[in-house]
């Protein structure tokens, strides 16, 4: 199941684990990323908490945790090469995997059609 937030994150949900990243639209708006900071594995985060920080040449931006959960994996590849987020935001440029406290809460997020309407 693919879901989106109005903060321009995507979630690919398999069982009770969501792989989270930023959308192609967000990556394009941010421009070339030069630095990514990701949450440590084992961190519990509430929905809306700052989960990651991305920096372009010009500015820093926060990436928020889209649902309550625990970080079970972070993508070291984008820390080593932040340009992956620009080149493949919804694939190799994923940020972290979140074990959801309440998988049913994902139903309230945007589906792809609703997100596309948001950014249209």
């Amino acid at each position: 199941m693919l879901k989106f937030t109005d903060e321009h994150e995507w979630l690919k949900i398999e069982g009770d684990v969501a792989t989270v990243g930023i959308t192609a639209h967000a990556a394009e708006q941010l421009g070339d990323l030069v630095f990514v900071e990701l949450p440590e594995t084992g961190t519990s985060l509430d929905k809306g908490a700052t989960a990651a920080t991305v920096e372009s040449v010009k500015a820093a931006s926060d990436v928020y945790c889209p649902l309550d959960g625990e970080i079970i994996e972070s993508n070291q590849a984008i820390v080593d090469d932040p340009s992956l987020v620009n080149s493949d935001p919804q694939g190799a440029g994923w940020f972290f995997k979140l074990k959801l406290a309440d998988p049913s809460a994902a139903n309230a997020l945007l589906d792809e059609a609703a997100y596309k309407e948001l950014i249209a």
Partner: protein, 379 residues
């Protein structure tokens, strides 16, 4: 600035939009922050080939001496800037500062001697205040005009000379800070060999009506890409150049800002025209005694950029304040974060380890000499 007033447009606005620029408000103007290539590529292209910038938002001011003698305009302007204007040769340009009575900096600017008049280029956000300041103090000796019928572009980078040489062969005879008049595509332009990127390059003042045509033709050259404000900022930061409002303002003096080089000998203690500019006692006192703080380069040890506003500490726990970052970001050409800021005198030596507060952590940064790149000015 009034955030509700409509944004002004430069004569090249339609060109930016047609090139797919992302436009942002800057100093009251709707300006391109980046084009399709993006900030990183635009930055690297400028240092590798040639980048074209629209700087038409900046103020272009003419000071024409009523007496007809350029010396009178030069001496009048010297009352507002701690710069040797009288000693500036015909068709030469130099960097200057407007100071206030506290020794603070009202704006930074370029001053050119154009034979029968002085030609100034001032910052966009300050231009109306600067012009009023000039009228107040120079109105009796000079006729002043803030030009609203000219565009200003900059062509910067190692290929800039070759690109312009195809339009005007004599461009190669100019050296850094020379000024000349020449026709580019049959349009009379005022060209200076200067810029704000650390690269060799030129700034070109063009009549507004012809600006888009001339600029489009220069952009047709395969070596030239349009460059937005994003890369302009990272280029000037790598070059160690101050952005007015960030790195210098009314609360910083030229000595604190490490801009002593902008005060020529004639205006310093024991010079031919010592002092005689606003704030001279304070500024010349700091020359002699030193200032309590100084603008320095800062190289973050890690990969995380340290931005303007970050506090600096002498220790990793954030107990002893050492200063503040005024500009910071990522330097694409040096491939690491770069910053500058004001640091208390005990901590200004190159190699000093300081700590910048970023998102609640204290990241090590090292005081480093400016610029971060080696400038390629054709002196």
């Amino acid at each position: 600035m009034d955030d509700h007033s409509p944004l002004k447009r430069t004569p090249l606005h339609a060109l930016h939009v047609s090139l797919g620029a992302r436009m942002v408000p800057f100093a009251g103007y709707d300006m391109p922050v980046q084009y399709a290539a993006g900030v990183l590529k635009e930055h690297l292209h400028t240092r590798a080939a040639a980048g074209l910038f629209d700087v038409s938002h900046m103020g272009q001011i003419i000071l024409r001496p009523k007496s007809g003698k350029i010396e009178d305009a030069a001496l009048a302007l010297e009352k507002l800037v701690p710069v040797d204007v009288l000693g500036l040769g015909e068709n030469r340009q130099r960097y200057g500062l407007f100071t206030n009575d506290q020794g603070g900096i009202l704006d930074d600017l370029m001053i050119a001697n154009r034979g029968d008049h002085l030609f100034l280029v001032v910052n966009a956000a300050c231009k109306d205040v600067d012009f009023a300041h000039l009228q107040d103090h120079l109105g009796a000796t000079c006729d002043l005009a803030l030009l609203d019928d000219r565009a200003l572009i900059a062509l910067q980078g190692p290929r800039a000379e070759c690109v312009l040489a195809e339009l005007w062969a004599d461009i190669a005879t100019m050296r850094f800070m020379d000024v000349a008049e020449a026709d580019l595509h049959d349009v009379p332009c005022i060209i200076s060999r200067s810029g704000y990127t650390g690269e060799d390059g030129f700034e070109i003042s063009i009549p507004a009506a012809s600006a888009e045509d001339v600029t489009r033709r220069i952009l047709e050259h395969p070596d030239v890409l349009p460059i937005g404000l994003g890369a302009r900022d990272s280029l000037r930061l790598e070059a160690g150049l101050c952005l007015y409002g960030n790195d210098i303002d009314t609360g910083t003096t030229p000595v604190e800002a490490a801009l002593e080089w902008a005060l020529q000998k004639a205006r310093r203690a024991s010079g031919a025209r010592e002092g005689g500019f606003p704030g001279a006692p304070i500024i010349l006192g700091q020359f002699a005694e030193g200032a309590g703080r100084r603008r320095v380069g800062l190289k973050p040890d890690g990969k995380a950029p340290v931005r303007g506003g970050a506090m600096l500490y002498a220790d990793a726990q954030g107990h002893t304040q050492a200063g503040v970052v005024t500009s910071g970001g990522f330097g694409p050409s040096v491939d690491h974060p770069v910053a500058m800021g004001y640091v208390a005198a005990p901590h200004i030596a190159n190699g000093t380890q300081l700590f910048a507060e970023v998102r609640g952590r204290y990241l090590p940064v090292t005081v480093s000499s400016l610029p971060f790149i080696t400038p390629t000015y054709k002196r």
